[in-house]
Structure formats: structure tokens, C-alpha cells
């Protein structure tokens, strides 16, 4: 039914859409061995120069932030400058490579999300990131100091949890998308949904093992090999699921409450891992007694981040709409919509796995 050419061009268009997001993870551990680094992505070619420019802007903001924070020790009036700078830092930070916007954009693509909901999720996730940063630094300072648990370790633990949740969330989205798709297939066997469910679980475990294995014996190259492994596994698992599980379960697929819970899962999965910039600024602020400044700075960063992520998520939703409108018929439109949603879910899953792999290697 779906025109072959059209399908191909849609796939290409989709890749263009995903390309900026599906990029390389960098070491979760810093090269210096101390301090927190967050795995980020980078694209080649065009995107590297774009990110390069964003990097330069960020550096400039970071330097100004650092100067302003230092100045605030003597002159509290600098607070307004600090808030402005933090906001700009948030805007630029979110525009650079990072996990939050990629996951949110893919998620809103994977779901029939309204723009309003996409924007709301972006804001909630950004605020949660800010709140988690405040909690981490506060707990480290007031409770963990001298306990042998460092802020870096605490952050790393949350990071692994966050990426694990993102991967799990992506897997669940994909599962949810593929089940009805599989239902449309002609060869329906009644294997029941228990079967399919098990598959989903095994899938996740398999990946986790693969990571640890790589981690164990090949530090230098495990990045690449690790990825290769996932993809093969990922792809074949997708197929297996597609071929064998067909149990429709409308009760699970509907319901506003579920949607809300799903949105919250996305928010928590993303928000658990705060941005390093916020942690660094807060630590410095706390050590210098600039409590209000630190908290307002992080709040401003969160708002800035939320705005950028919202814009990106909006673009993703609009692009999906355009792709669907290009379809020749209504059934083609549905199919394209489905494909895009599956790709979105797959992207969330892959992002989570790649980031998790990077984080576990640290």
C-alpha cells in the first residue's frame, strides 16, 4: 500500500531529523579522573561546527558565570547579572549536545503527544533536573561530607539510574508501538501476551550483560564493539517481537491515567541526572555562602533549558506532522505516522542504552 519511494524518502527525512540527536556518547568519566563529566553527543560534519559554535558560547557564559559568582561575594547586586547569565547558559546548554532534549523529542515523536504536553514535559524535566542538582549538592554538603561518598559518585549513581530508566522507557514505548503494529499482521498466532512480555524483559537483561562484559575486558575499544553488539541484538529482538507476539491488550493501551504516568516516567528518567554546570555553580555558591544566588541561578538555568528543549520538541512534532501530510492516502499517513513513532521509540531505547554503556564504563 505504501509507495516504496515515498517510504524511502520518509525514512531519509526521519534520519535527518534524528541525526542531530543520535550522536556519539563521550566518556562518562572525565579524562582528568576527578570531577563530573556528563556523556554528551557530537555529530560530525555540519553539526560539529554548529556544536562547536554552541560550545564557544557556553564557554563564554561559563567564564562570565564564574566571574559573577566570585564578584557576588563582595557585591550582592551582581545577583541579577548572575540570574541573566544562568538563564542564557541554560538556553545554550540545552542547545548543545545532551540527553534531555534528544529523549524528549524522540518521546513526543513516538507518542501522539500534543504540543502542549510536550512543552509541559520539557519544563517539568528541566525543573526536576534543577531540583535534583540542589538536592545532590545539599545532601553532599550537609550529610555526605566525610562519609566517603563523593558528589561525583552520587551523581554517577543517579546518572546510571537515569540512563537505565531511559532505556527501559524506550523499550516500553517500542513494545507498546510494536504490539498494535504486529496485530495488523496477517499471520496471527495466539501465543498470548505472556510470551511477548518475557521477550521484552530478556531484551533488557541481555543488554545489561553485554555492557558489563565489554567493560570487563576491553576498555579502549569497548565503545565501538559495545555499540555494534547492541544494534545487532536490538534489531533482531525487534524482529522477534514483531514476528511472535500479537496479543492485543486494549486496557493497557488506553486511559488518560496511563498517559500521565508515562509522562512522569519520562520526566523522572531525564530529570534524575542533573547537568554538571548546575552542580558546579551550586557547589561554589554553597561553599561561599551564596545560598540564594545558587538556587536562583539553577532555577534560571532550568527555565532556559526548558525553553530550548520545548522549541526542539515542538520542531520534532511539527516535522512529524509534515511527514504525515506528505502521505498520498489516509492509510499511508497512518503507516508513516506509525513508522515515525516506532523510530522515535527506538531512538529513546538506543539513546538510553548507549548512554548507559558509556556511564557503566566509567
Amino acid at each position: 500500500m505504501l509507495n516504496r519511494h515515498l517510504r524511502r524518502s520518509i525514512i531519509i527525512a526521519l534520519c535527518m531529523l534524528i541525526l542531530p540527536f543520535v550522536l556519539t556518547p563521550v566518556l562518562a568519566q572525565s579524562s582528568l579522573g576527578i570531577g563530573t563529566a556528563e556523556p554528551t553527543f557530537n555529530g560530525g560534519g555540519f553539526f560539529s561546527s554548529l556544536f562547536g559554535w554552541i560550545n564557544a558560547q557556553q564557554q563564554a557564559f561559563y567564564r562570565s558565570l564564574s566571574t559573577t559568582l566570585k564578584a557576588m561575594r563582595e557585591d550582592p547586586q551582581q545577583l541579577w547579572i548572575l540570574i541573566g547569565l544562568s538563564f542564557s547558559y541554560g538556553v545554550f546548554h540545552a542547545a548543545g549536545p545532551g540527553h534531555g532534549k534528544a529523549v524528549i523529542s524522540s518521546y513526543v515523536i513516538a507518542n501522539e503527544q500534543t504540543l502542549r504536553r510536550g512543552v509541559a514535559i520539557s519544563f517539568m524535566a528541566a525543573f526536576m533536573q534543577g531540583a535534583v542538582a540542589i538536592v545532590i549538592v545539599g545532601v553532599t554538603y550537609f550529610a555526605l561530607r566525610g562519609s566517603g561518598i563523593s558528589m561525583t559518585e552520587a551523581t554517577h549513581t543517579l546518572e546510571i539510574a537515569s540512563y537505565g530508566l531511559i532505556a527501559g522507557f524506550g523499550g516500553w514505548l517500542l513494545w507498546k508501538k510494536l504490539r498494535p503494529a504486529a496485530r495488523h499482521q496477517h499471520h496471527i498466532h495466539d501465543h498470548g501476551h505472556d510470551h511477548g512480555h518475557d521477550h521484552g524483559h530478556d531484551h533488557g537483561h541481555g543488554h545489561a550483560h553485554a555492557h558489563r562484559h565489554d567493560h570487563g575486558h576491553d576498555h579502549e575499544h569497548s565503545h565501538e564493539h559495545g555499540h555494534g553488539d547492541h544494534h545487532h541484538q536490538g534489531a533482531s529482538d525487534v524482529c522477534e517481537t514483531c514476528g511472535h507476539s500479537h496479543a492485543p491488550d486494549p486496557a493497557i493501551l488506553s486511559g488518560e491515567r496511563l498517559k500521565l504516568r508515562e509522562a512522569w516516567s519520562a520526566i523522572v528518567a531525564i530529570g534524575l541526572r542533573p547537568c554538571s554546570g548546575a552542580l558546579i555553580v551550586l557547589t561554589f555558591a554553597l561553599l561561599n555562602g551564596l545560598y540564594l544566588g545558587g538556587i536562583l541561578s539553577v532555577a534560571a538555568m532550568s527555565i532556559g533549558t526548558a525553553i530550548t528543549v520545548s522549541i526542539l520538541a515542538t520542531l520534532a512534532v511539527l516535522a512529524k506532522g509534515v511527514a504525515i501530510r506528505f502521505a498520498s492516502s489516509q492509510s499511508a499517513a497512518m503507516r508513516i505516522g506509525n513508522l515515525i513513532e516506532i523510530a522515535g521509540a527506538l531512538t529513546v531505547l538506543l539513546l538510553g542504552l548507549v548512554l548507559l554503556a558509556a556511564a557503566l564504563q566509567a
Binding site: 505504501l2 582528568l32 559568582l69 561530607r145 566525610g146 555499540h227
Partner: protein, 218 residues
């Protein structure tokens, strides 16, 4: 309609994108340090050692204070500073101690430093250490020295040309400090950079194109 092959193909597209882009890395720096590099020429006319001094920014330094303050007194004592030095030394071993030396375009191997000394002054972490070439490095041809983080986690800045110095340079050599202009580098090395982005699994080494370096021509 969702046949295996289609799904496979579909799944492979984002997947292969991931694979292709693996290796490129342009993390944004979270750490800034003012750097100083002193190249010491020995009596025998060979490069004896490279002395690094890095002064890290206040913000990063404060996070390190919080992380390594094991006795919770908001100060870093000698044992805590020692621990930082050990962690950094171990970690930097994978990154040539942020040191790059080349002799007529060939990379020169370096010996690990005995220790990385760490101090905490005015809220800033200070690191200093020396590395030596693995084999004697005579002052001949074109020698290039630089200090940068190939992963771009830390940005080392040589604020002035006086931060790159040579001790005991013989009169027959000329010294030049090169601060590459990023746009020019991009234009001149497009092919090499693209190649480095896609083919080098460790990826990051293209940052050397942008790093400040000191060149000696003898």
C-alpha cells in the same frame, strides 16, 4: 506490513548512524585551567623535561574540594591532595598526561611522571608535574610541544606567550608560539578532520589541530 526485513532495515538506520558517528567526540569543557609549560633543555642539548603548571578555575576547584575533603573540614590537607594527585596521575596515563611532543611530525613518547603534585591556593586547585621523553630527544629539525586535553573535558589556556617558555635554548634554534585560528584550521584540514572524526575510534585527537603549541626549529 511490518515484515522482519523492513523492521530490520528500519532499526538499522538509526543504528548505523550511531555506529558511524561513534568516535567523534566534542564534549564541552567543564573545567578551565590556566596553563604554563616550561621546556627544559639539558646540558647535552637534548630535551630534558617538560614542566606543567595548571591552575584550575574556582568553580571546578570547589567541586573537587567537596569531593576529596574526607575529613569534612572544608580544607584540603596533604593526604587529601596526595589522593587527588594519585587519581589524576592514574587517569591521565590514558591521555599522555595532556602532553604532546612531536619531532619532525612524528609523535614522541613520554615517560609517566613520578607524581602529580596538587595544591589548593585561594580556592583554586593547582597541579604541577614534569614529564620526560622516553628516549633522548635531541634539538634537531622541527620540535613541537603542546598541552591539551584530547577529550576536551578540560580546557587548558596559555593566557600569554610567556606561559610557554624554553630554558637553556641554544642560539641555533628559533622559537615560535602558534595559536591556531579555528576557522583557518577547519578550512585547511577539512579532509583530515573529517577523516579523524570518522576513522579514529578514540576519536578525539583532532583537538590537537586547535591547541596552542610551541615550535622549535633547530
Amino acid at each position: 506490513m511490518m515484515k522482519h526485513s523492513k523492521l530490520l532495515k528500519f532499526g538499522l538506520i538509526p543504528t548505523s548512524l550511531l555506529a558511524v558517528s561513534t568516535g567523534s567526540a566534542l564534549a564541552h569543557p567543564h573545567v578551565y585551567a590556566e596553563a604554563r609549560l616550561e621546556i627544559v633543555i639539558g646540558d647535552t642539548g637534548t630535551v630534558e623535561e617538560l614542566r606543567h603548571v595548571w591552575r584550575f578555575d574556582d568553580l571546578f576547584s570547589s567541586t573537587i574540594l567537596l569531593d576529596f575533603d574526607t575529613n569534612a573540614n572544608l580544607k584540603l590537607e596533604s593526604s587529601e591532595l596526595l589522593e587527588i594527585g594519585n587519581v589524576v596521575r592514574e587517569s591521565l596515563a590514558d591521555y599522555d598526561y595532556y602532553t604532546s611532543i612531536s619531532h619532525d611530525g612524528q609523535a614522541v613518547k613520554i615517560q609517566p611522571p613520578d607524581a602529580i603534585h596538587v595544591d589548593f591556593q585561594d580556592g583554586q586547585i593547582l597541579m604541577f608535574f614534569a614529564v620526560r621523553p622516553e628516549t633522548p630527544l635531541p634539538l634537531q629539525g622541527l620540535l613541537s610541544f603542546g598541552a591539551y586535553d584530547p577529550t576536551m573535558y578540560a580546557a587548558l589556556d596559555f593566557l600569554t606567550d610567556d606561559d610557554l617558555v624554553v630554558d637553556g635554548l641554544s642560539p641555533g634554534c628559533s622559537k615560535a608560539i602558534i595559536r591556531p585560528d579555528p576557522d583557518e584550521v577547519m578550512a585547511q584540514n577539512e579532509a583530515t578532520l573529517t577523516d579523524a572524526l570518522y576513522n579514529n575510534p578514540q576519536g578525539n585527537d583532532f583537538s590537537k589541530f586547535f591547541a596552542t603549541r610551541l615550535e622549535l626549529t633547530c
